[in-house]
Amino acid sequence: MSLMSWGLYPKKDNQVFKFKNYQEIKEIIQNNNSLISYGNGRSYGDSALSKNIVSVKSHDYFIDFDEVNGILHLASGAMLSDVLNSFVPRGWFLKITAGTKLITVGGAIASDIHGKNHHIEGCFSECIKEFNIMVENGDILTCSKDKNIELFRATCGGMGLTGVILDAKIYLKKINSSTILQTTIKTKNLKETFDAFEEYSYLPYSVAWIDCLAKGKDIGKCLLMAGDFKNDGKLDYKSKNGLSIPFTFPSFALNNWSVRAFNWLYYAKSPQGISKQSVGIDTFFYPLDAIGHWNRIYGNGGFTQYQFILPKETSYKGLEEILQTISDSGKGSFLAVLKLYGKANENYLSFPIEGYSLALDFKIEDGLFNLLDILDKIVVKYKGRIYLTKDVRVSKDIFEQGYPQIDKFREFREKNNMVEKFSSFQSKRVGI
């Protein structure tokens, strides 16, 4: 059995190791090189793919909950969705969550994920009290912001390249409702979109869907959704199992016209100007999780997500240029998600910096990687960077220009004998 990532690309053979206890992980680490941990397989590219894979997903026990301080101790294979199922009805929510709840806690740490509230709360590492990780020699080390600090900074956002994360204590956030009061703002161009982000940045959650096929003066038009939890005391939460894509679509199903139609429908169904809605947790935070296996709509060749971030000073010019380039290329993206981020943290490879990030989904087809190479150059020109969790093709040169702390990460890996032991196809490509 070979594992694939969410993008269904690349398809390469790998050997999968499972374990029942820590002694068995230790043996796996001692007997193999080129290992990488694999959780629920939701990273898009090749960051969790390697010759040898440690499958962590079944290591999913909840260990303890400290009701007074809201600290949940759980094994690294437990999923964010498990946390929600158990804790939303009891009035707790994840302090930080990604746009999918179908990821493991270990994966959330390794990607140092962020969500719609990054501009207020930061990355996943902000909600970690501490975690345990098994390193190259089989030792288990406890890391936090004040203990094994280097290892903490290298591991949060370190793409699993420092060891196998075993368990974590995370802070949850109190909520008094499972409903979010959402404000939707329909904008006409990029200028209006930026203004709306600033205007609504007082709300803890915000994100925008951009119509990336818009042309000329319409470039950057979007639906911005911002909101916060209500305070109505109602905490019902029933996870939705919606429809699922049962098979991989033929690869011609998704083309410029279907993307155009989808974007048009999505944009057109929403009322003009500003409107307010009450929506559930799953609709607001995890709209795509309702469609199981949605990655299959891109066909057998797979797809990738291109996500970059630009510093605030250069965001407007840079995004304008990138959106123009994509529009000119005629390659449509189903999803184009824009978001304003808060300050960067001190972790060596965490993606967020203060500025705007855009994420675009593309079917993998001829000419795509050429387009992305062109976008890379624009990103670098405007002092931006690429998100490893989504990436499957960025070059070493482009990647390292975006991450000034990369040498600290490399030195740390070398000093601690991690380079041979833990690697992914991605880490070899970008030289980390």
Binding site: M1, K18, Y61, F62, I63, F65, L74, N85, S86
Partner: protein, 243 residues
């Protein structure tokens, strides 16, 4: 009274069933051999759902202990689910009768010994449900696992009769026939992805179908049709096949 008794609790399906029932507000008894090894798992359920979980030592093949086992449960369960399953080694069992006996005793005799006792109690109370996890392998014997298959066939027939007997007393009996499930039992087998369920899928199916008082559950559902076809193959043809 809100306890569910799960027998064969160390199996992957049993653990998923325990999580599913506790998620839906039931307290759980987990019964099996060397049950203290499930201490961490019991704790997992408590943290996830604030439900009660108790571990009960039970050797399903030690038939004479079953009466005492059940009598010792202070708060009797609302329902019982057997996830006992021992695939055994077909080739070994052909040569060594003790392996054959292991397979029969775990999958058939043991479950029946215990279910007889519980059925009497539920019948008296005119309340409760009994779920037996059998297998599609019990639908037709195949050379690759007919020892296991024949024991499951016996279990399927037993559950059908039990359902018939307990109908009058409003006690619901459900037969579960899983096809391929990705568990420890099938680890290393090359199972076709589209026909293979996860333990979690099976557990959700069981919970939903039990609540609806379904008699027979195939999971995944497609196995009902696969088995229909397999059963239609004439014996003169089937005996030559390798499936």
């Amino acid at each position: 009274m809100s306890y569910i008794l799960i027998v064969g609790a160390k199996s992957d399906i049993a653990k998923a069933v325990a999580r599913e029932y506790s998620k839906n507000g039931y307290d759980i008894y987990l019964a099996g051999r060397k049950i203290n090894e499930l201490e961490d798992f019991a704790n997992d359920i408590r943290v996830r759902g604030v439900r009660n979980v108790k571990l009960l030592e039970l050797d399903i093949t030690n038939f004479s202990s079953h009466e005492e086992f059940y009598n010792n449960i202070e708060e009797k369960p609302l329902g019982v689910i057997s996830a006992v399953g021992y695939l055994g080694e077909q080739k070994l069992a052909e040569k060594d009768f003790s392996e054959t006996l292991n397979i029969i005793n775990a999958n058939y005799t043991g479950v029946i010994s215990l279910f007889n006792i519980i059925a009497d109690d539920f019948e008296d109370r005119k309340n409760g449900f009994m779920v037996g996890i059998s297998s599609v392998a019990g639908e037709r014997g195949r050379k690759s696992n007919y020892m296991y298959g024949s024991a499951k066939a016996g279990l399927t027939a037993y559950l059908s009769g039990l359902r018939n007997r307990l109908y009058e007393s409003q006690v619901h009996v459900m037969t579960v026939k899983p096809g391929f499930v990705a568990t420890k039992m099938t680890e290393g087998m090359d199972l076709p992805e589209k026909l293979t369920a996860s333990p979690k899928d099976v557990a959700e199916d069981i919970f939903e179908s039990q609540q609806k008082r379904k008699s027979i559950l195939y999971t995944k559902w497609i196995w009902q049709y696969i088995m229909m076809i397999i059963k239609l193959i004439p014996e003169w043809q089937f005996r030559k096949m390798s499936i």
